[in-house]
Amino acid sequence: MSKVGIKGYSYCLNHAPETGSRYGGTPYEAIHSGKEQEYLDSLPKFLQSYEHALHYAPNQTYIGGISYEEFESLKTPWVENLLSDEKAKRYGKFGELMPEDEFLGLISACDEFELVWLEKAFAEGSAKKLAEDPVITEAIVKRVLRPKNMHEISEIETEVKERNGLALYFDGKVIGCIRSGHPTDPCLTAHVLLENLAGKASGVLALLHLLKNTGMNPSDLDFVIECSEEGAGDVGQRAGGNFAKAIAEVAGCINASGCDVRGFCAGPVNAMINAAAQVASGARKNIAVVAGGSIPKLYMNSRDHVKKGLLALEDCVGSFAVLIVPDDGTMPVMRLDVLGKHTVGAGGAPQAVTSALTFEPLQSAGLTFTDVDRYAPELQNHEITEPAGAGNVPLANIKMIAALAVMKKAIEKPAMMQFIKEHGTIGYAHTQGHIPAGVPFIGPACELIKEGKIKRAMIIGKGSLFLARLTNLADGASFLIEAPEPVAETSAVSKEDVKALILEALSEVAGKLA
């Protein structure tokens, strides 16, 4: 059976309300349409402060500030039942929630082409704060302070007014800009470059935390697979890549190479499978699966939040990283023989998708629905999605799995609610597309396995391919994480052993001849 070990994981958030409320897809569209002034005027009143974001339980669960089990026991709504100061820390077991001024500094540090200009005093302040972050290297701090990235505010204003730059704000003031990468190329506008640089920077943060969490020397990382939903390229190849290598470079992983894997929200699960297969085959010694987050998805549902007088909570760029290594019998493992695969011919009905991702792989491995302790499908925070009419996504998914379990006679219908409660997971991830797609639970699942509380979890990602206008097909993929089993010792025979055996045999023959 092919298995790989999950050595470690990291989960980070970058608070970005000022950037998001201007350049998130929904506000940006409203600004340009000129038709939604009331919404745009109201949005700033519904933004969440950094301190509030730190006290918000789903955020702390994502970065590992509180355990998943504690999160499950919390009183809801979380937005009205904030965590105590003691639990609302910047750093959690898995990663951190970085404030926006430092995130802008980190974006500048990730720029190679003088695309980010920060006002000098702001850059210095940001660099000073970043230097306090335990994962930010001295080299990264120095990059924030490169003269080519620091400019006078008058130069920044000219760049915005006259050369299609995009102003960056902090505390309501312009503190920098993203410059346009080309006078006519639509793939290199300042807005697209902001998306890509923010994706890169948030991916760097997640990779740095992964290296810290696993104790791995950056130079020991062999390969990176990046799996966000951003597209980096120019008009000749608008999503050519390569985020992975760009991220590895800033993180100091000098011996790593990398490539990007895409598949909408199913990207991360496909990237995990891709990475696991390469490590299991021996093609790579180890692989970090990494994804940065999305600026366009910030405040995606904020029209509805504002209309209903609710806090607009979609203010964090999410990121994660997972380190896949050969299985040595000591770490939670990812199985490669039980993979959910949504085929072209399967059809797009929820029933067909759910069956392809859960029932079919389990059946092929001789398992049934109740053999999986926890299912982690799309883990969107329902306090964000419900007011926007998108319902409670993880709950809807586990209900579908439970209903399929009834249809396949794995459980009785009256046991559905019990199954949902015991085997489901509660969503706590930001609505960042690929970020909530099952992968946030890799960390908690591994923790629960290590504590002996569960034996098996299923990670499920689904993708909305129709968004690219290429196909109307549904998509999805899944895999199992299990407790490790002791690896059987193999009696390896060395060259010296062979020599000794030959000599022994020869002397025996010589003895007989004599």
Partner: protein, 109 residues
Amino acid sequence: MDLQNQQRVKDAGEKYGTDCVVILGSSDAEGAEIYAETVTAGDPTYAGPLAGVSLELPVYHIFDPIIRAECDPAAWEEQISMMEMVLDPEALTEAVKGMREQYSKNVIE
């Protein structure tokens, strides 16, 4: 309802008139009600092509017994029966019915 779908419904409604039936598959009642309103009275959010456009189309939820009766039972079992267990078919049917009774010009008889 997203802007592209509004445009598709608008195009179909303008081409075929109020004989064109809209069947919704929304999973929550609030959303179903808004979508039903959009294709009958017009887009209540005033964001899409149906803002201020009253197509008055007959609109039903897929779980409405009238629509269910039209479906192949084998296909229903294979494609939809699981969702019947998951969702609240009655609430969804009622949410759409409310809008249909107020704003649709034609109904299926």
